[in-house]
């Protein structure tokens, strides 16, 4: 009905051949608290606002030959924020009314060009800063609590309880332990988490007098793994047993690395295999080969796409967050365990946030209340943006 009315009005206006009534009083101002990429525009509506398709917003940088379209906003809109500008550029802006048959009015223009200013704090990230402070604060708070001697209990994680058994079995059988810290470089947090777990596993291996082999796919990971394992052997009181040649670089190529590790597995037959880090398609290649040689296999990764294969082919799999908790859990140190409690607070906050949002949006859907909807929208699109 409304659409038909609009069409009818448009038809009559167009039929009369009248020029489109233009918007006026276009004002551009710098968007406050941003990184110098936004400008706020306001204008007064066109006289035939109800019959319009909308307003087309255009901008022109100092080096642009002509105005470029930014957005078409619906009728009734009086303000718009132009984003993705350059803090070093200066811009002119135009807003024109458009009828459904795409005839345009003469545009309202800004007189002087405007350069968006860079402020010292990015206001769009205010709520994120708060989120960061709360989540990190929870972790730090529990670390401090633990340092002060509070006793913190953490549930058992089956895959990690099995680490000692796996290394012990390798010792009994006189076969090596294989540790793979993923195939990504040190600029991946999963690799760092994997190296931390390596420290614990290597220490157990040193205590049990098992040999540990760490083939790596990146040179930097080899360097970091050597430092780590050497330290582990030292703190286990067995610096003489450390063999740096057991930690070696193979190749950066994913499948070249797999070819070599797979070959090594069938030849040296490790009795325990650990896959801890960031994995891709090689996950199943490694885990199935390990399965073929009868090794105990424990995997941990935060690559959701590879978890199914580890779950299918390994004895134990640390899923996502459990993998990041592993090194703290294995260390058994109170302040490290404290950080796990902090993560739980984070999860509680997430659950509370989801519940609040879900209840709000359900209430809005049931009552049709626009103000509840606007609160929910503020929560989802501003606070969680």
């Amino acid at each position: 009905m409304a659409a038909a009315l609009v069409l009818a009005m448009t038809a009559s206006a167009a039929a009369q051949g009248q020029p489109v009534a233009a918007p006026s009083d276009l004002v551009a101002s710098d968007h406050p608290w941003d990184n110098g990429t936004r400008v706020d525009l306001t204008w007064t509506l066109s006289g035939e606002d109800a019959a319009l398709l909308g307003y087309v917003v255009r901008r022109k940088g100092a080096n642009d030959p002509e105005f470029v379209r930014v957005e078409l906003v619906p009728p009734g809109t009086r303000a718009f924020t132009v984003s993705e500008l350059s803090p070093s550029g200066s811009y002119l802006f135009q807003v024109a009314a458009v009828r459904p048959d795409i005839t345009e009015s003469t545009p309202a223009s800004t007189e002087a060009s405007l350069t968006p200013a860079v402020q010292w704090f990015d206001g769009t990230r205010f709520w994120f800063l708060l989120t960061l402070i709360v989540t990190s604060g929870a972790v730090i708070w529990f670390i401090v609590l633990a340092r002060r001697g509070a006793t913190l209990k953490v549930r058992r994680i089956a895959g990690l309880e099995a680490v000692d058994d796996a290394v012990g079995r390798a010792t009994e059988m006189g076969r090596p332990v294989l540790f793979i810290p993923g195939i990504q470089d040190m600029n991946e947090i999963q690799t760092i988490a994997g190296i931390s777990i390596l420290a614990r596993v290597a220490r157990t291996a040193a205590e049990y007098d098992a040999t540990i082999e760490v083939p790596t796919s990146k040179s930097l990971v080899m360097t970091a793994a050597r430092e780590t394992v050497q330290q582990a052997y030292l703190s286990a009181g067995r610096p003489d047993a450390y063999n740096q040649d057991a930690i070696y670089y193979v190749t950066d190529e994913q499948f070249g690395y797999v070819a070599a590790v797979q070959g090594m597995m069938v030849r040296d037959r490790p009795a325990a295999c650990f896959y801890m880090g960031s994995f891709f398609a090689e996950s199943l290649l490694l885990a199935e080969t390990g399965n073929g040689i009868g090794a105990i296999q424990i995997a941990g990764t935060a690559q959701p796409a590879q978890l199914p294969f580890f779950v299918a082919a390994c004895d134990y799999t640390l899923i996502g967050e459990e993998f990041f908790a592993a090194s703290a859990y294995l260390s058994g140190e109170p302040d490290q365990l404290g950080s796990l409690k902090g993560q739980d607070v984070g999860k509680l906050l997430v659950a509370a946030g989801i519940l609040a949002g879900v209840l709000g949006s359900t209430a809005a859907a049931l009552t049709g209340s626009t103000w509840i909807q606007s609160i929910v929208d503020y929560f989802t699109f501003t606070m969680l943006a």
């Binding site: 989120t131 070599a260 978890l307 299918a312 967050e321």
Partner: protein, 317 residues
């Protein structure tokens, strides 16, 4: 020689003989690569574009004395090598053997060097040398280096310095200095990932889970399908979060939720597994097509070796 080894040796000799007969004594043959030779603009350097046996037959039909489309010996050797490597890798499925070991050794050597060459020409030259000595690099390997990109940027002495510290490990004394660049990498990685994951994945996933439990259609009627789906999504996310809880053993209410959580995770993994199968089989099909089509010339579904092209493929707009 064991019975097994004798059997395999016999099979391999028979296979090789069959290949030889097919390659040399059949009408069509197999395993040849063709190129189309075309002189470059200055007439000196000849460029070779890939061509097919079909192109060759058509060229000969048009002009029996032609030399434009011809057999390329190096590329034919390469094709046979590629076929050998393919079979050698597959042979690992039976058991570890010398052919696989050769393929493995070649792959390790070639690929390690490959990524080093890529690192040199794509990272070190443009992102280190060209920043510190733009003039020299422009005159040597990057003639297109001009404009603001060509300005000297001494900030790049920082990674160079860190790199030198890293390589100090090769020196007999003071290898501990390599921990400084390592500490820099680990620290910056931790900072970057913390902010990026919290801002990206974390908030986005919470935002996407905020769904109304009751969905009404545009005309105000109740939509049972969408409502049930939303309830299941929200409930499943919360139960999975309960599974990840570290503070409590999986008992009582939390334990119940955690148990539902692990069910949801299992369904997720089952779906992920099932969904991937198709792509993995396609990978195998491509390799087998390479053997049957490109190398053995047993099948030709795309008609690349036919003397007459399917009508229409010649038309170009």
């Amino acid at each position: 020689m064991s019975r097994d080894a004798r059997l395999w040796t016999t099979l391999m000799i028979l296979g090789a003989l069959a290949l030889l007969v097919r390659a040399a004594w059949t009408d069509q043959g197999m395993g040849r690569e063709y190129v189309r030779a075309s002189p470059a603009a200055d007439g000196r350097i000849t460029r070779y574009e890939p061509a097919t046996f079909g192109d060759y037959q058509r060229s000969v039909a048009a002009d029996p004395d032609q030399a434009t489309v011809r057999v390329s010996v190096p590329r034919s050797v390469g094709l046979w090598l590629a076929a050998f490597f393919t079979l050698a890798v597959f042979s690992f499925l039976y058991k570890d053997n010398p052919f696989y070991k050769i393929a493995e050794a070649v792959l390790v050597g070639v690929s390690a060097a490959y990524w080093m060459v890529v690192g040199f020409w794509d990272v070190l030259v443009p992102n280190l040398f060209a920043k510190i000595f733009p003039g020299v690099v422009q005159g040597w390997a990057m003639p297109g280096l001009t404009g603001p990109e060509a300005e000297r940027n001494l900030w790049y002495l920082v990674p160079l310095g860190l790199g030198v510290m890293l390589l100090w490990r090769l020196a007999p004394r003071g290898a501990w200095i390599a921990r400084w660049p390592l500490a820099f990498i680990i620290g910056t990685t931790a900072g970057l990932r913390l902010a990026a994951f919290l801002h990206g994945d974390f908030l986005a996933q919470i935002r996407n889970t905020i769904l109304p439990l009751v969905v009404l259609g545009a005309d105000g009627t109740f939509n049972p399908g969408a409502s049930v789906a939303n309830i299941l999504i929200v409930g499943s996310v919360l139960c999975c979060l309960a599974y990840f809880f570290f503070s409590f053993e999986h008992k009582g209410v939390v334990g119940g939720a955690a148990r539902v959580g692990i069910w949801v995770l299992m369904i997720t993994f089952g779906a992920g597994f099932g969904y991937t199968v198709m792509g993995r089989i396609a990978l195998l099909a491509i390799r087998l097509e390479f053997l049957l089509d490109d190398w053995l010339w047993l099948i030709d579904p795309a008609g690349r070796r036919m003397a007459t092209l399917a009508q229409g493929l010649l038309v170009n707009i």
